[in-house]
């Protein structure tokens, strides 16, 4: 029996025998290779940032929408002037020109909560419970009253709440009427207040095809993971609305023709499931900041109608506190990536981004690839904004 054997440098070798060491080494090698195999499943994109400094605006802007037109496939990308809320700026990709489009002053335009470029000279936007169609050249405007559906504010940050395909307009919104400070209120909020409203624009009167809270199937569990709404995008070709929660890799797909749900999982090996968020600390901003920094989070899913593929943006966890520093980290200090998914949600490639340089909440799908905003765009002291185009 080895019960009487004391641990000392002399006899420790009897506890870790040479065959054990060999076995451990073999096990370690196998496990390591397994892990590296898993990571190797994600082919890294050999993308290049081009035109890096060519799209620079002398004001703070937000990405709105893009449209491709003409036989030579010109691209117009639209940006919202955050300093002058009545101005939309258009960047023409072929001519590299920047044209400012101002709203007609006769309209009571405030902050728009959704914008979609339909053609090169027409777009739609939502402002104060109204959907407007606007012709840039004709200066004609048509408004639809969408009040009464409880639309209070736009979708999550970095989302595209308004999308239009053929004659259908999709508007994603949610109520913002009460404070969520208990688990019960959280569950109530999740079940009652999200809207995906679909309009048929060809009818004389806007037809509300679907409105109301999401079906119960979309809620993964009753646990809270802090995020208050899933990211969503529309795949017009397959008549599907795609939902993604920040805390998991499960994608929920709703077919709005068949009215059926299905779900699938994106096998992102860098993404770890989130810890449960403590609802009792919903008002504790320090706890929230730590939680969002120390957990992986899916930020957005965007459908590229030009390439029939999806872009899933994820931020990866890191330590909040640093013993060598008087400062904590924050969610913007996290590295992040864009997973390029095909139309079946299989991973095609991955683009990794360093922390703090590019903004994961400022992404637009283009015919070439993606337009990504620089992080400094949202620095309160900067008075310009800059974008890079990534092609892959």
């Amino acid at each position: 029996m080895q019960n009487n054997t004391k641990l000392s440098p002399k006899n420790i070798r009897w506890f870790i025998k040479p065959p054990d060491i060999l076995l451990s080494f073999l096990l370690f090698s196998i496990l390591s290779s397994l892990t590296s195999c898993e990571h190797a499943k994600l082919p890294e994109a050999s993308c290049t940032a081009y035109l890096t400094d060519s799209i620079t605006f002398p004001c703070q802007t937000r990405i709105l929408s893009s449209v491709v037109y003409g036989s030579d496939k010109k691209t117009n990308s639209y940006f919202y002037d955050d300093e002058d809320n009545q101005r939309v700026i258009c960047f023409n990709d072929k001519g590299s020109s920047i044209d400012a489009i101002s709203y007609p002053h006769s309209l009571p335009i405030g902050k728009i909560s959704g914008f979609y470029a339909i053609t090169e000279d027409s777009f739609a936007f939502i402002e104060h419970k109204k959907l407007f169609l606007y012709g840039v050249k004709s200066k004609k405007i048509k408004g639809f009253d969408i009040g009464g559906y409880g639309i209070k504010c736009e979708g999550a940050f970095g989302q595209y709440p308004l999308e239009i395909s053929d004659s259908l307009a999709f508007y994603y919104s949610f109520e913002d009427t009460f404070a969520i400070n208990t688990q019960k209120k959280w569950e109530l909020y999740m079940r009652l207040t999200y809207n995906e409203t679909v309009f048929n624009l060809n009818r004389e009167r806007i037809e509300n095809i679907k409105a109301g809270g999401f079906p119960i199937e979309i809620y993964p569990d009753s646990n809270c993971y802090y995020s208050f709404c899933p990211a969503r995008c529309i795949n017009y070709k397959q008549h599907e609305i795609i939902y993604l929660y920040q805390q998991s890799n499960t994608i929920y797909i709703y077919n709005y023709l068949n009215k059926t749900f299905r779900k699938t999982i994106v096998p992102n090996p860098h993404f770890y499931p989130n810890e449960k968020f403590d609802m009792n600390k919903i008002g504790d901003f320090d706890y929230i900041s730590k939680y969002l920094t120390e957990n992986c989070r899916n930020q957005n899913i965007i459908y590229n109608k030009f390439k029939n593929e999806y872009y899933l943006t994820s931020t990866y966890k890191r330590n909040y506190e640093n013993s060598n520093s008087d400062e904590t980290a924050s969610p913007i200090d996290k590295t992040w990536s864009i997973l390029v998914l095909d139309s079946n949600f299989s991973i095609k490639t991955e683009i990794n981004f360093p922390a703090k340089k590019y903004d994961f909440a400022s992404i637009l799908a283009l015919q070439k690839g993606v337009l990504v905003g620089y992080y400094s765009n949202f620095n309160s002291t900067s008075n310009y904004s800059k974008y890079a185009v990534f092609e892959f």
């Binding site: 320090d286 900041s289 520093s325 008087d326 002291t381």
Partner: protein, 164 residues
């Protein structure tokens, strides 16, 4: 269990004693005080070691209503020992009377400092140490008024920092 001989007990006792001495001799906010003092040096505010101060902090991460509530509290405090530390220029630099007691942090340090002040907060500071930190509850911003009043009742030495 053999290692738990008398020497082990003695060492454990000494370690425990040393830890307790350290806690009772220092502030509850010892670590926070060190961090905050280093931050204060970068602000170049005229802080005297033997005085008491209220630092009202409105970082960029805080809710707008919470910041506004504390700013209102700050703007009514006529005493020179109440300072506003903010990383948002909005609304805060208009008053020439208050301007000298406002430190605008353009470095972003206020938003990242390792103190529990991610939401609008008040730091009670006296004799070079932090004595307390209270934050606004976003669901009930007014409730901080009660917290501050209670604090000032117990810690009378801070009353002069807020009242005229």
């Amino acid at each position: 269990m053999q290692c738990l001989n008398s020497n082990c007990y003695l060492i454990s006792f000494l370690l425990l004693f040393a830890t307790n001495c350290n806690e009772s001799g220092g502030s509850q906010y010892q670590k926070e005080t060190g961090i905050f003092n280093r931050y204060l040096k970068t602000t170049r505010l005229a802080i005297k070691k033997d005085s008491t101060y209220l630092f009202i902090c409105t970082p960029g991460s805080a809710c707008v209503g919470c910041n506004q509530h504390l700013f209102n509290l700050f703007s009514t405090a006529k005493n020179g020992n109440t300072f506003l530390l903010t990383s948002s220029r909005e609304n805060y630099s208009n008053s020439s009377v208050l301007k000298d007691r406002i430190y605008f942090d353009s470095t972003g340090k206020l938003d990242r400092i390792n103190l529990p002040i991610r939401n609008a907060s008040v730091i009670f500071y006296g004799q070079g140490k932090i004595s307390g930190i209270v934050s606004v509850n976003p669901d009930a911003p007014d409730s901080i008024d009660y917290k501050i009043t209670q604090w000032l009742k117990i810690h009378k030495e801070f009353q002069n920092a807020l009242t005229p």
